[in-house]
């Protein structure tokens, strides 16, 4: 079970009698469903996260009205955008105008195919994974130019042209930085690159050599420029171009532009994590087979002393849960609204903790008779969920940096932008490549 596509072919083996093509179609549709759903969820959450970070950096709170902590805000926004009128200018090139946002979306969604989430969680582990990523990244240029051209608006066209100039230039340092990684890992497959970084934090390419350390920054800066984020967002510079390439777009087509942009944030962070931060490798833990660790853990939990301590903790937790539940019924008696009630405001964390630990207590009680089954669960956790959580956590941390930059730095001028690329990042990229070559040859 190397990747999801092969796994799904195995799962749908009973369809083999229908022939290869229908089976492949079903597998492809399933993969597309997974990718698009994850992509939609991520871009939606990023709109929320962006607004939250914007609030924090301005000493505000950010959206906190819709759902818990405002988490469902993006769904409300999406519903609003879908319900709005989709205006297409009379003089616009209709078919291109309609198609452009989806091309942009396509480029981003295709990138999700090679992004790994765990040792086995990847849609398709291509042997040219990184090259494929660079290629899908270029869809953005085409989409933006099409949007700018078809709008029949000079600001939109200017934005499109600027984006072309910018993205094509910044692809060079981007590719150079990734080349450093490929040089070190000796493979272009995403999983291969991650496996090459096994064995502790000092084996991650960010820390393994000074040249790849520099390459990380070259990659990160140029990737941010490639997805048109602030401080490199001159294609949609509000102060000069009103809104740039998306000036004539409204309703969900406009939303699709932003979905693609926010999806791209996750893509570049995930690629940076894969190439430089060890992917799903757990820091300070040099373990090649995580599943074995899980099997060991099953035995560890079976020891009497550990069990005693955990039982005591579970008792304390049950007490907390009892207190929280009492507050809950106190609210119910007064017929207060559930979500505005004292219980949710004061005891929500308590309740979650309490229920968690009470569940733990239940598991403890059932642990000894169910040990054989549970060790499988531990194994599954360490094999699948833990790497996923590690990868996702790292990617979210980097995405936070992207958002953080947006709310810190002012926008660059066009000439400054080109200067950063051609005078600084590209020479730096070449220096990294040459230096890393020597490093790989002579020092390791």
């Amino acid at each position: 079970m190397e990747n999801l596509v092969n796994d799904l072919f195995g799962q749908f083996a009973f369809l083999q009698k229908l022939g290869y093509v229908p089976t492949a179609a079903i597998v492809m549709l399933t993969c597309a469903l997974i990718v698009l759903n994850f992509f939609g969820l991520m871009s939606g959450l990023f709109t929320f996260f962006e607004r939250k970070v914007a609030g924090w950096t301005n000493a505000r709170r950010g959206p906190n009205r819709v759902g818990p902590y405002g988490l469902v805000q993006f769904m409300a926004d999406g519903v609003k955008l879908i319900l709005k009128e989709d205006i297409i200018p009379a003089a616009a090139d209709r078919s291109i105008f309609k198609f452009a946002p989806y091309l942009l979306l396509l480029g981003t969604a295709l990138s999700f195919v090679v992004i790994p989430f765990g040792p086995t969680w990847i849609i398709g582990d291509l042997n040219v994974g990184v090259l494929y990523l660079l290629a899908t990244g270029s869809f953005t240029v085409v989409g933006l130019i099409m949007a700018g051209w078809a709008s029949n608006n000079k600001y939109a066209l200017l934005g499109g042209m600027r984006s072309a100039a910018q993205i094509v230039s910044y692809e060079i340092p981007n590719a150079l930085a990734i080349l450093v990684v490929v040089l070190t890992a000796g493979t272009m497959s995403m999983q291969g690159i991650i496996r090459a970084q096994a064995g502790g934090i000092h084996h991650w390419f960010l820390f393994s050599s000074p040249f790849s350390f520099l390459a990380f920054f070259v990659y990160f800066v140029s990737a941010i420029a490639e997805i048109n984020r602030v401080p490199f967002d001159i294609p949609e510079a509000e102060s000069e171009l009103v809104a740039g390439y998306n000036i004539e777009y409204s309703a969900m087509r406009f939303g699709v532009f932003f979905a693609a942009e926010f999806g791209n944030i996750y893509v570049i962070s995930a690629v940076a994590v894969t190439c430089f931060l060890g992917g799903w490798q757990i820091p300070f833990l040099d373990v090649t087979d995580l599943g074995q660790l899980g099997r060991g853990f099953g035995g560890f939990l079976g020891r009497p002393l550990v069990l005693m301590v955990l039982l005591l903790a579970a008792l304390a937790a049950s007490f907390l849960a009892w207190k929280a539940l009492r507050a809950f019924f106190w609210d119910l008696r007064r017929k207060w609204a559930f979500f505005g009630s004292r219980f949710v405001r004061v005891h929500s964390e308590l309740l979650v903790l309490g229920l968690l630990f009470a569940g733990g207590a239940l598991i403890m009680a059932l642990h000894l008779p169910l040990r054989a089954y549970l060790s499988t669960i531990y194994w599954a956790f360490f094999q699948y969920l833990l790497p996923f959580l590690v990868f996702f956590g790292k990617a979210m941390l980097l995405s936070f940096v992207v958002l953080w930059w947006r709310w810190t730095l002012p926008r660059l001028r066009v000439d400054q932008l080109m200067g950063v690329c051609w005078k600084y990042l590209i020479p730096m990229g070449f220096a990294c490549l040459v230096g890393q070559g020597f490093w790989v040859c002579f020092l390791s």
Binding site: W56, T57, N64, R65, G340, T408
Partner: protein, 211 residues
Amino acid sequence: MKVSEGIKEYFGNIYESVTTISMGMWITFKTAFFERKVTLQYPSHDILEGKTKEASLPSKKNLKPPFEPLLGASQQNYKGPLNAQLPERYRGLLGYDELKCISCLLCAQNCPIDVIRVRGVKIEGRKGKAPTTFRIDYSKCMFCGLCVEVCPTDAVFFTRQFEGATFEYRTLIREFISPALHLERLQLAEVAKKKAIEKKKKKHESEEKEH
């Protein structure tokens, strides 16, 4: 420019950009995570009455979910009720004192958009006319203050209330005199009318007698 100077400038630029960017990022980081939030969560954590709204109105209708606990920031920024902080001559919603009104219709006549409707009747024991209807259509009112300026008895005045938003259009038409009071006034007016007629008759009769 010498080559060495150029090299110095080149690496100086890199150094400067790295240091300035990290300085800026540290500032935003501090603001984001270590500074007090300045937001006053107005509708749910109200400052109008100097206490939170859900404390004062524990009903399902008025409750909004305050998922983030009030971390003391709003209390820190609290400078007393908001009405009290408003300027002296703040033009909030129009207020009306039914006891002072003499139904002179000056406000209605001066209103440039005919927002005010006043009707009054003569009743006993009251100077001028007693109002039976006083209606302001807030959906049209532009708060110019001409009615307030012209009122001889200060019956129409500006309050410091500004929460006039409603969900329905018709609720913006505000009746200041309740239907019960309206009917009572009409009855009193009839009584007063009868008394006046009787008075007139008596006067007439007495005059006739004198003749």
